[in-house]
Each structure stands twice: as structure tokens, then as C-alpha cells.
């Protein structure tokens, strides 16, 4: 009881610090290069200066206020998130094979091939003895029916002990997150010490089924005993039985595609096309920079059978706003704002991560990269709030951890669409939304862009549905190590109107 009281007062103080800091720096001048460039851009292009200039200059100001507040308040709300009587869980290492646009180098492979490559990459990077691994969990979304438990097939192929059980989870775009947190649960409850979690998606090949009528006929034929029965079944065949059934790209509950929903979401929050294109451009530019500087250290090369070794993500394509402006809307035609250039693309890829109990990792002589701390799953209206998961999950996970936005040094959010990210920012920055839809007293505030997806995101690096979660966590962990800082916040939205957020804490050097 006393402990929680102390905790509360800490949080309260954090808020105070934040507020004071905010007020102090509101007078300052934005230094962030990108924001100023937007500012000058709009100034150049907008004939009426007064109001617009004001609005635009306000935005970077409010961003930087939080940025300033962070270093000013050197003391975090909490020194560590370790909890008494609960095991500390660490990420020893995480890797991914390069994420490729679907239909490119991986197109002849099967999902378990990609997953196996990620596992082998992890084994190679960590040299972990295979028999130490207690359990293997993979996330995937579009299942290859031949390998419905893709985790097991990949693990066997990668040479893991056949005594190591494996299972596959699915939760749309947060499947890998679910794989990791399942592992966290197994370790925290003392069932396991070492878990491999990962995710895989192969969009180059998806199961296309016969129509229900055709399937029914084939199954009935199987059961038919006499030639007469078979003939009578075959006589019922119609040409339309042959029309195939594609895997649904739409939400089952609403029959709406995700892009369509994203466009409506962007419109609901009045996110303009230009803002979306600018954000997408930022993602690609930062990803390019990170790739060039060799920061994407989680990528392991993959020698594709019959093809060259793949070493880099191939979806990063910084363009220009002019080029992007030429594209027609992809979903709501002819006046929508979501285009191919400001959406994430169909991607093939896999990731894997070695998670251990801290004492086990230390006993084995590893130097862990990060702690996996508090996490939450949220869900909301799959129609109008399909992609608002991060808005709901962020304040919840911060509260659970006893942190505030200013404590976070690295934000890694899944970028499904530019419009989705920007709508989430606006929702997080709205008291009205917090009060009317989230049952909260105040907004949580939007993350400062300076700390946000600094090495690119799903828009540019790609988004293999089942594998993105591990990439987000590793990006947060690696950024904390590189840029300095203690806490990272990972958040993602997922089909079905679900969402996830997790706190990643840097492992002390």
C-alpha cells in the first residue's frame, strides 16, 4: 500500500516536471531541422501567412517542449522497472532477415524457409546451444495450410532439438508481439528460462482456395462409394465452382479494407494528404540514413537458394513530395488521401529473438541488450477506430509502468499508414478524445518526433505482418544503446481493432 502511494507521488511529480518544463520551453525556438523545413515549405507555398504560419510554428514548439523537458529532467520517474518477486526478463539478441517487397527474391520460398533463416541467423549471432532453448513461439497472419504450426517446422529445419516444443500464434499485425509476450509469460511464471520468439510472413504466396461449392463437391466425391454416386455428384458441377476464393483483405466484421479505414481515419482527424506524404518521406529518408550508416544491425544476411545473398531491405525508396503528390488515391477514389506512397507495402520477411530470464542469461555469460517490461493489449471498435491501438495502449502501458511520456527516450511505433500514425498523434494529443472515447481525464500527449521511429518504420523498412513486432522491439533496444537513454516504448495497431504497447528498458552497460 505504502509502496503504491510512493509510486503515485512519483508519477505526480513527473507530471509537474513535465508541465513546468513545457511552460518554460514554449518560448524557445524550434531547432529541429525537419520541422523548420516544413515551416519554410508552407511559408513559401501559402499566400496567407498569418494564421498558418502560427499554427505550424506552434506544432514543432509543442514537440520540442517535451524534448527539452526530458534532458532537463535528468531524473526519470523511476530508476528501473524491476518488480519485487518477479523475474527480470531480458532480450539477449534479436535478428531479422532483410524485409523484401513481396514478389522479389523470396517469392519461390515458403514461410518456414524464411522463419528458419531467421532462426539460423539468431543461432549464428548468439551461439546459443540449441538444447538450452526451452520453447519456441512464432507469430504469423496468413497461414500456409501445409505448415499451420510454422514455428515447429522452422525449428526442426533449423536443427533445434526435436524435444523443444513450438507453437504458432496469430493476432494480425501484432502476432510477433504476442509471440514475445507469450514467452515473457512463460519465463515470468517460471515455466521456462529460455524462449525463442519470432514472426514470419510471406506475402509472395498466399493460400487461394477453391470455392465453397467446389470444396463441398470434392469432399463429397471423396465419400462417394459407387460410380453412380460419383457421376451424380459430378453432374452437379457448374463452371462457377471454379472461381477461386482469395484470402480476405477486408476486416471480417465490417467488410472494409484496412486502407479504406485508414483513409477514413485520416479524414476523421483532418490529416491532409500533404502531411501524410511528408511523414512517409520522413520515414523513407530516415530508413535510408540508418541503412547507409549501418545502424540496422538486427539484419542478418540470407543466402536464398538459387539466388544471391540478400543483405538489405529493398523497400526503402526516398522520393520527393512532387513525385508522391502525383499518385492517385488507392482506396477512396477519387478524393481520398491514402496512396501507395504513404502506405506500408506487402512484405516478405521473418524475425527471431532470444529471450531469457536475466539470471540465466548472466549465468550463461551473455550481455543482454534490454529488459522487456510492462506490456498491454487493447482493443476497440473495429470499424471507426481500427487503427487507433497505439492511442489506447500508450497511456495504459505508461500508467502500468509508472512512467510518463517524458521518461521515454525512444518511441518505436508500427507505421501501417502515414495517415494512421498522424491520426494517432492527433488522438493522443486531444483531451476531447481522451475524455469521450478512452474514459481518461486528460490526453497523454503525442510523442515528440525527434524520438520517434528515428531509423525508419514499417512504411519504409516494410511490414511482414507476423514479423514486425520483433523488429520494433529490437529497433527500440538498439536505439537506446546507440543514442543513449533508458526507456523505449513500442506500440502497434492491428486488424480487428486491437493494439499493443510495451516498455523496453535498456540493459545497463
Amino acid at each position: 500500500m505504502t509502496q503504491s502511494l510512493v509510486l503515485c507521488s512519483f508519477v505526480y511529480m513527473g507530471h509537474l516536471l513535465y508541465d513546468v518544463g513545457g511552460n518554460c520551453t514554449r518560448m524557445g525556438i524550434p531547432k529541429d531541422f525537419r520541422m523548420t523545413s516544413i515551416l519554410t515549405y508552407t511559408l513559401k507555398n501559402l499566400p496567407s501567412t498569418s494564421k498558418w504560419a502560427l499554427r505550424f510554428s506552434l506544432r514543432p514548439l509543442s514537440c520540442s517542449s517535451q524534448l527539452r523537458a526530458a534532458p532537463a529532467a535528468q531524473t526519470k520517474s523511476k530508476k528501473t522497472l524491476a518488480k519485487p518477486n518477479i523475474r527480470n526478463i531480458v532480450v539477449v539478441e534479436g535478428v531479422r532477415i532483410p524485409f523484401l517487397q513481396s514478389g522479389t527474391s523470396y517469392k519461390e520460398l515458403m514461410p518456414h524457409d524464411l522463419a528458419r533463416a531467421a532462426l539460423l541467423g539468431l543461432l549464428h549471432r548468439t551461439s546459443v546451444p540449441k538444447d538450452v532453448v526451452d520453447y519456441i513461439i512464432f507469430g504469423t497472419v496468413i497461414q500456409e495450410v501445409k505448415t499451420s504450426n510454422v514455428a515447429r517446422e522452422a525449428a526442426l529445419g533449423a536443427g533445434f532439438s526435436d524435444k523443444t516444443p513450438a507453437h504458432t500464434v496469430t493476432m494480425a499485425c501484432i502476432s510477433a508481439n504476442q509471440a514475445m509476450t507469450t514467452g515473457v509469460g512463460l519465463i515470468a511464471s517460471g515455466q521456462c528460462d529460455v524462449v525463442v520468439a519470432g514472426g514470419v510472413e510471406l506475402m509472395s504466396d498466399v493460400p487461394i482456395r477453391h470455392s465453397r461449392k467446389m470444396r463441398k463437391m470434392l469432399l463429397d466425391l471423396n465419400k462417394a462409394k459407387t460410380l453412380g454416386q460419383r457421376l451424380s455428384l459430378i453432374s452437379k458441377f457448374r463452371l462457377n465452382f471454379l472461381s477461386p476464393e482469395l484470402p480476405a483483405v477486408a476486416e471480417f466484421s465490417t467488410s472494409e479494407t484496412m486502407g479504406h479505414s485508414a483513409d477514413r481515419l485520416a479524414a476523421a482527424f483532418a490529416v491532409s494528404r500533404l502531411d501524410q506524404d511528408e511523414y512517409a518521406l520522413r520515414s523513407h529518408s530516415l530508413a535510408k540514413k540508418a541503412q547507409d550508416e549501418g545502424l540496422l544491425s538486427d539484419v542478418v544476411p540470407f543466402k536464398v537458394p538459387g539466388k544471391d545473398t540478400v543483405t538489405k531491405d529493398n523497400g526503402i525508396r526516398p522520393s520527393s513530395l512532387e513525385q508522391m503528390a502525383k499518385l492517385k488515391p488507392a482506396f477512396i477514389k477519387p478524393y481520398g488521401t491514402v496512396t501507395a506512397a504513404n502506405s506500408s507495402f506487402l512484405t516478405d520477411g521473418a524475425s527471431a529473438m532470444l529471450i531469457m530470464a536475466e539470471e540465466k542469461a548472466l549465468a550463461m555469460g551473455y550481455k543482454p541488450k534490454a529488459y522487456l517490461r510492462d506490456f498491454v493489449y487493447v482493443s476497440q471498435d473495429p470499424k471507426d477506430q481500427l487503427l487507433l491501438g497505439p492511442t489506447y495502449a500508450t497511456p495504459k502501458v505508461l500508467e502500468r509502468a509508472g512512467l510518463t511520456m517524458t521518461d521515454i527516450d525512444a518511441f518505436e511505433f508500427h507505421e501501417a499508414f502515414s495517415g494512421q500514425i498522424l491520426a494517432n498523434f492527433k488522438a493522443m494529443d486531444s483531451d476531447w478524445f481522451a475524455q469521450n472515447y478512452m474514459g481518461r481525464k486528460t490526453k497523454v500527449g503525442s510523442p515528440p518526433l525527434e524520438k520517434f521511429n528515428n531509423w525508419g518504420g514499417s512504411l519504409s523498412l516494410g511490414h511482414p505482418f507476423g514479423a514486425t513486432g520483433c523488429r520494433l522491439v529490437m529497433a527500440a533496444a538498439n536505439r537506446l544503446r546507440k543514442e543513449g537513454g533508458q526507456y523505449g516504448l513500442v506500440a502497434a495497431c492491428a486488424a480487428g481493432g486491437q493494439g499493443h504497447a510495451m516498455i523496453v528498458e535498456a540493459y545497463p552497460k
Binding site: L46, T254, S255, R264, A267, A268, D384
Partner: protein, 749 residues
Amino acid sequence: MVASRAIGSLRRFTASRTLRCPARTHINYGVKGDVAVVRINSPNSKVNTLSRELQSEFVEVMNEIWANDQIRSAVLISSKPGCFIAGADINMLASCKSAEEVTQVSQEGQRMFEKLEKSTKPIVAAISGSCLGGGLELAISCQYRIATKDRKTVLGSPEVLLGILPGAGGTQRLPKMVGVPAAFDMMLTGRNIRADRAKKMGLVDQLVEPLGPGLKPSEERTIEYLEEVAVTFAKELSDKKISLKRDKGLVEKLTSYAMSIPFVRQQIYKKVEEKVRKQTKGLYPAPLKIIDAVKTGIEQGNDAGYVSESQKFGELAMTKESKALMGLYHGQVLCKKNKFGTPQKDVKHLAILGAGLMGAGIAQVSVDKGIKTILKDATLAGLDRGQQQVFKGLNDKVKKKALTSFERDSIFSNLTGQLDYQGFEKADMVIEAVFEDLNVKHRVLKEVEAVVPDHCVFASNTSALPIRQIASVSKRPEKVIGMHYFSPVDKMQLLEIITTEKTSKDTTASVVAVGLKQGKVIVVVKDGPGFYTTRCLAPMMSEVLRILQEGVDPKKLDSLTTSFGFPVGAATLVDEVGVDVAKHVAEDLGKAFGERFEGGSVELLKQMVSRGFLGRKSGKGFYIYQEGVKNKSLNSDMDGILASLKVPPKSDVCSDEDLQYRLVTRFVNEAIMCLQEGILATPAEGDIGAVFGLGFPPCLGGPFRYVDLYGAQKIVDRLRKYEAAYGKPFTPCQLLIDHANSPSKKFYQ
């Protein structure tokens, strides 16, 4: 670059350059860039109607816009969520004294909309919510239409349902826009067209998806978004970046080609006219005049078309049929309100006893409004049938694309089927629809009262058992009330609510609230044998039996009743209701009212029941019913029964006309008696009950409107004539005689 410039300039609009013009009450406008945004918002009303004031303000605003060189295009939009313009103001027509006056109103409308149509500055109608009647005529006069794709957005020409026609150029413009066949369909049926269908038909040019919540409530933001999109289109139209020509599909092209051949056109007119004559039986003048006005416009040109339209509009507005239909419209609006106030407790948990046709029907209209509903039956087989009925009702909506399969599933989850009283402790209301037997009703009432909470209302769905008698075994008679639904529940709009002197006001308010939620039109009546509806029907049915006994065959009787305007023939009606039910009611009410309810012999029904001729449900009644067979044939086994009960007809009162009036006058006389005795609170409820529950001819407007329009004296004369032949059953009631004696006395002032 182009797009970013466009967006840049878009942003500019939202800035400060919005000009504010002198405040008007219905319409005001602002200017965004060079686009005028005209906002329609009638004060103190949920809907916008084209009233005189609104029209004159609109003309004023449009003239300003046309005169302003800074403005290059305009957007028309309503500030009310859920309503663009719901139609012309009916009261404006009602206040006109002559056809000429109405014609003038029509001509003013025509002139105004013609100016819109010829506007050189493109006008975009941004439609969200109902766009009906005059609202649609306004929209189709604009150069471009953008509609919100939601369930509330419907377009249509419902004028025909009020006995008039689209009188502001609609009959001329609509055929050109959607093609003659589709235009006839819209104007002759008055059906509502949803936005996505309207897009396919070419009635609207663009759709805007409704938005979820953002930084404002969804409704507000959706209208804002619609406006933003409409402004972009208005701008692009004035910049000639998009063309007004619509790509027509192959079918459309073929149809319009076919329509260019005079012979084909003549055939279509003929075909449509034939169909209309067959369906209206010549009782409704509006549809034929609509065809005429369209025809004149196409064959003789616009000017002749406009003249024809406005003249016919004037003529129609003065007809009795139109007055009757408008009266029904007003009555319906009245019966969609809860005059008993807000109930203390909202009904969230409903329980229904008996999963028969009625019980399951009531369940269906409850679950799809989000009420958690328990459906209880005594047997698993009965329960299965009932649950299947609810599922089928919902699934049919999926087939018609009115629901998605997911919505169906989540609606169906509101239903719990069970054989016991589990969960009744949470029920806010119990509606029993068990077998029509007082002992059974008493038993379930006692069982229910043992398990439900104190506030729970007990409603009895019965067509004739007095609620007072049902309530006699209740521990809390103030919570007992009657809810008389009509079969099939999901199709029939009427709900008759029966209160006893002990029923509390809150109980009444609560069931009215539930009924309204179920989408019903509600009449509240006092308890008495047969309440109101059954009591009116019974003497008419008694006369039906007498007519049959006099040797008129059921087919002829059916055609006599339908040609008078009843939607279902009298003999068919008995089959539909169920012969056993009819017998039950005839016996009960015969006992209660004695001589006045005499006529045919109940023996006829008794013999039918004993032979198993229960009507449609048993496959045989007056007719034979077979699955999949459309034209039913007479049940020849009835000949023997009818022959054995034959009575000689009285020659001076058995002409076709006399037969019709013998039925109708007994109905009307009984209805007025119900008002006289205080069973009915108002004549309006009497008319709504008769038309919506019993199919009283809508063109007559209900028994009370009928007396007002055609004269009480005429009806009394008829009654006296038949009284002379048959006695007491035809004796006019005192209230009717009063009305006959003083012609200034009217049920509707």
C-alpha cells in the same frame, strides 16, 4: 505539385476569409475562396422542409451568389445531421384554398429550380440524411450531387404516398437523369433509395464515406468532411477540371437508345399505366397523373411538361384522396410520439413467453434494436421454430443487403432461447404471447410474477381477451397492460396498447417506449371486449359470413372488398387471420355485444374448424394454399358447408355496391362507437389503427376521416337502409347521428 497546391489552397479556405452575411433564420452562407457554401438549417426543428420562408430566403441567397463576381461556384448543404431536406412543407399546401393557388406554388418552385439548373456557376448538392420530395427536386436541379454513404441518407419521391406528384420540376427532370423506367419506379412507388444505389443509378455523382470519431463527434465531422469534399468538387467544376458527363454503363446506354424510339416509349407508358390501374383499382388518381406529366414532358417538350405538372399538382392537392393520405401522414407522425412521457426505467432486458409466430416476431423486432431478449417456450420444438423464424427474418435482410452477416450474428446474440425462467429476475418487461386462453394466461402471469423483479411490466399480447380479466389474478395490476401486435410482426407497423383503469401511467409510458423502439406506430386504447381494432373488425367479419351465406362466392367477395380499397380481400383475410381465431373472437365478442354483432352464423366457422379448414396455416380455408403456388384456388369442400347454411339474399340490399357498404358502414359505425365510449382517445388514433392494423382503405384515410370527407349523413342514410333489412347491427351510433345532424361538426377541425 499540382496536388499540393490544391491542398494548399484548400487550407486557405478554412482560414479567416469566410464572409459572414446578414443572419437569416433558415439559410445562411459563407464563402470559402471562390466557393459559396449555403447552409440550410430551419430553426427549432429536427428536419428542414421547403417552407415559404425557406424558399424566399433561398432565392435571396442564390441571387446574391449569382450577383457576386468573387463567387464562381456553390455548395448546398444542411447543417442538420440526418436530414438534407425532408420535403416540401405539407402545411403550405394544406393552407391553399384552391387548385389554382396550389398550381401557383408549384410554378414558383419550378421557376426557382429552373434557375438553379441553368446556373452558369456550378452548384453542388452535398447530401447527408434524408433528401426527399422537394429536397430531391432541389438536388437534381443542381449540377452535381455528393451524398454520404450511410443508412440515414436516402433519396426518394414520396409525393405519391400523399396523393400528389413531384410538383417542382421533378416529373420532368428525374426521367432525364435516371431514365424513364427508373424514374417511374421512384415516383410511382415513392420508395427510398439508399446512397450507394443512387450512385449506381446516376442519381448522385459521388459518395462520401461516413467518418468515425476524430477530434469531434462523428456526425459533426462527417458533415464537415462532406462539405470539404463538396467544395473541392465545386472548385474543380468551375475550373472545368471535371466534366459533368457521366459514363453510362452498357445497360443504361441500351435503355436510353430504346427510349429514343417513339414506339418503345408508347409501349412503356401503356405497360406502366396498365400496371398502375391494376394495382390502384382506379382508387388513387396521383399515379396516373404522374405518368401523364412525364409523358407530356417527353413527348411535347419541357414547357408543356411544366404546365402539365403544375396543373395536375393543383388538381391532385384538392382531391379527397390526397387529403385522406395527408391526414394519415399527420396521424402517423402523432402516433410515433410517446405522449406518456419518459418511463422511469429504460427496458434493457425483455422476456417473451411463447415462441410462436407472434412471440418470435416480437423477439425479432426487439433484438435488432439492441434489446437483450429472452424467448421462452414450453417445448424445445416450439422454441426451435421460433428461433429459426428470428434467424430467417434477419438472414433475409442480409440477402437484401440491408444487414451484413456480421451484424446479423451480433444482433442474433441478443436473443436467448430457453425453456425455463432463468434470467427473468433481470427482466424489465415480460411480453406473453402464449395461447389465447384465459386459464393459460393466468397460469403464466402467476409464474412470471413469482420470478420477476418488482418494477417488471407484464404485457399481454392478445387480440381479444380483456386485459382486466387477465390482470385479475395479478398481485400488481398496475404493472399489467395489453400489447396487441399484428401478424407478421416484422411487417405490420401497428401496435395497439390496451390500458385498464388500474394500469399506471409509467407502465404505459414504458410499453409505448418499447413499441416505438421496435419501430411501431402506436395507438393507446382503453380496455374492453375486442379493444379497438378487433372490435371494429368483428362486425365486418360477421357481415362477411352473412354475405357468404347469401351465396356470394369468396372470390367475388374478395374482389368487391379489394376494389373498395382494402389491401386484402375479406375472405382471404379470414384465412390469413386463422378460422379458429376468427371463431374464437366471433363467439367472445358476440357474447359481449349481443345483437349488434349479429350477422352471419358462427356455425360456418365452427364447421370449418371441425373439418380442419383453419386457413393458410393448415393449407385449407376458403382457399387451398400450396407451397410455391401463386394463384390459389377455391376450396371445393367448402361448397357443402356453405350450401347447408345458405340464407336467402334480400334483393334490395345485395347489389355489389350494397355488399361493399354493408361491410364498410358496420366497420365505420363500430369505430365511431369506440370513440363515443371512450375506448379511443382521439379520432387520429382510430384512423391509424384501422388503416395500419386492419387495412382500412388508405385512400379513405380511416373511418373518421372518411366520415369527415364524405359526409356523416350519407353514411347514416346507408346504415338506415340496411337497418331496415337486417335490424340492430346497422343502427347508427349516437355520435355518428350527431355528426349527421350538424354538418359543421367534424372529427378533424
